[in-house]
């Protein structure tokens, strides 16, 4: 099947305006402009498209929450892409940007927004000028600015670069970041659909989510639903990294199995045995390489039934040589660094998880410390303002669930004197 998202694999240069238009580009927006905004939302609702940024929220429903009030409304495109193991949005921005732009404009028309802000992580620095140039080409063609396609409706598109903070991918932190405030999450309600960017109604969608939209409008909801499974329709990009023969992005209809996906990416590197899979970067629980897991379909509901999440489908492969204590420590380091420090359970919890895991890995801990990290993780769950506080517990909890022995093997029955725990200083922020 031809790629729907990674189209440059079939049509080189599709990211350039001229090539894009030669291959049906902007047919979706043209068609949408001939429909009522509500009809556009209904098609996206009917397609059952679910958000590709991690949470899998139904996209059409999200759009329908935007009130029909007068005054500015905004679309923010989430291109912060900072989850370890995730590199799909970057490929769309670099090689299929016009499709994202068209999708964003269709979304903007559907909720009658006046501006689109593309929030790209600062490290996408080199892609910034490309995006700006392509936006200008679309503007010259009449797709950006006033009276788009003669519809009377107008919309601006801007690129805003982040500056290195995972938390800014969280939607409310992203809004604060654009507003020039600290990139920390907001207390909800109010939800962004009602009071988002500059306290105006706002839709926040992931890059890949919006890149699906033009073809949904052109080919219809039924077409989209014919791809993938009933509850998880559509194509999906799977980011394959870690111990895999051919790392990279792979597009498939949702619903293929882990086994098929790993085979498509050339199998485990060096013919080694598979040990574990992280289906959704560092934020989703680890899964052991059992037949049951390998034969599970990659859909939102099937991966959830295994006790993990499909999330952004950034699949990290761990082979038999992987030390699970080391891998868990790496992820603990990530979350400690990225906790924004706003709430105590997450700020202190990520600190303690890291410190105790370091002690375990340095063989300076007792079995009680293994219990301690589990207790700390449990204490953090459900107590934080945003999902990062929970994400931070999932590597620890899942690693202990399946590989507790490996942690215990690092410990000594007696703690070497003097006792360390009480002496460690609790510091906020930093690494």
């Amino acid at each position: 099947m031809a790629n729907i998202l990674l189209r440059e694999k079939d049509i080189p240069g599709i990211g350039q305006y001229d090539t894009y238009v030669q291959h049906g580009g902007y047919d979706g927006l043209k068609k949408a402009l001939g429909m009522k905004p509500d009809e556009v939302i209904q098609v996206v609702k009917d397609s059952n498209l679910r958000g590709r940024g991690g949470a899998g929220f139904p996209t059409g429903m999200k759009w329908s929450f935007v009130p029909k009030t007068e005054g500015p409304k905004y679309i923010t495109v989430n291109a912060d892409e900072s989850e370890p193991g995730t590199f799909k949005d970057r490929q769309i921005l670099e090689y299929n940007f016009q499709q994202l732009l068209e999708g964003s404009l269709i979304c903007a028309y559907a909720v009658q927004a006046s501006a689109v802000y593309i929030y790209a992580r600062g490290e996408f620095w080199d892609i910034g000028p490309h995006m700006e140039a392509e936006i200008e080409k679309a503007r010259k063609a009449g797709w950006v600015g006033q009276n788009i396609g003669g519809s009377g409706w107008g919309c601006e598109v801007y690129v805003h670069l982040g500056a290195g903070a995972y938390i800014c991918g969280e939607e409310s932190a992203l809004l604060n970041s654009i507003e020039g405030k600290l990139g920390q999450p907001r207390v909800r309600p109010p939800f962004p659909a009602v009071a988002g960017l500059y306290a105006r109604p706002t839709v926040i969608n992931n890059v890949e989510t919006l890149a699906n939209v033009p073809q949904i409008i052109v080919q219809g909801a039924a077409w989209f639903k014919s791809i993938g499974t009933e509850k998880s329709p559509g194509p999906k990009i799977f980011c394959m990294s870690g111990h895999i023969e051919k790392p990279g992005n792979y597009e498939f209809p949702l619903g293929l199995t882990f086994r098929q996906l790993i085979e498509a990416a050339g199998g485990v590197r060096g013919g080694k045995k598979l040990k574990a899979i992280l289906p959704s970067g560092a934020s989703g629980p680890l899964l052991p390489a059992t037949d049951k897991v390998l034969d599970t379909a990659l859909t939102y509901e099937d991966v959830a039934a295994l006790g993990s999440v499909l999330g952004s489908a950034s699949v990290i492969i761990l082979d038999e040589s992987t030390d699970m204590v080391w891998a868990t420590l790496k992820m603990a380091r990530f979350f400690k660094h990225e906790s924004c420090g706003k709430c105590t359970p997450c700020r202190e919890g990520t600190y303690w998880l890291l410190k105790r895991l370091e002690a375990i890995y340095a063989k300076k801990a007792t079995p009680a410390d293994v219990q301690l990290i589990e207790d700390v993780a449990k204490q953090m769950q459900g107590k934080s303002l945003c999902a990062l506080g929970d994400f931070a517990t999932s590597p620890v909890m899942s690693a202990l669930k399946y590989w507790r022995d490996e942690f215990l093997a690092y410990t000594q029955p007696q703690k070497p004197a003097p006792a360390k725990a009480g002496k460690d200083k609790v510091v906020a922020g930093g690494d």
């Binding site: 370890p84 193991g85 995730t86 490290e123 996408f124 080199d126 805003h160 500056a163 020039g180 560092a282």
Partner: protein
């Protein structure tokens, strides 16, 4: 002064947002380009442009990893050694790079040419080992190609000094 030197760019930035405060991050990037780091005068100038208290600008600069709060080497190397890259040899690569330059994690070489740090995932995990040098990505590195890059940058730094 940023306001004069970058007038056109600054006007373009302000035109993007309904609120002056939103210009803080883009202006910090401009200031960093002008001064090489987010110096106290950079903070003050950005604050004046956005009509906001300098302490607020400082807290924004401190929140993000891409703003340099202290002067760095001419080439600022940020090597990813997060889990996916580390599964493909990034830790070893990072250590070898540090050894080659004779410095430790986070340090700057005595000649002020290189600063080397480790960073979290840069969305290039399929092309590990990789790094970002002054915001440009270099991917699928080996110590061979890395050494060649280092020598190229060293020569460029020397040539720039000679001018």
């Amino acid at each position: 002064m940023l306001a004069e030197k970058y007038q056109e760019r600054i006007e373009k930035i302000f035109a993007k947002y309904p609120d002056k405060r939103s210009a803080i991050m883009p202006l910090l990037y401009v200031a960093q380009e002008a001064y090489g780091w987010i110096s106290p005068e950079a903070i003050n100038e950005v604050a004046a442009l956005c009509q906001i208290d300098p302490t607020q600008v400082k807290s924004i600069a401190g929140f993000y990893t891409m703003f340099r709060e202290t002067p760095k080497g001419k080439y600022w190397l940020q090597v990813c050694n997060d889990l996916p890259c580390a599964l493909r040899g990034a830790d070893q690569f990072y250590q070898e790079l540090l050894d080659y330059l004779g410095i430790k994690d986070g340090e700057t070489t005595a000649d002020g040419v290189f600063t080397v740090e480790h960073v979290m995932c840069l969305a290039a995990c399929d092309k590990a080992p990789m790094l970002q040098c002054n915001f440009h990505f270099h991917e699928n590195l080996t110590m061979e190609t890395m050494k060649a890059l280092i020598e190229q940058w060293r020569a460029e730094a020397k040539a720039a000094q000679g001018k």
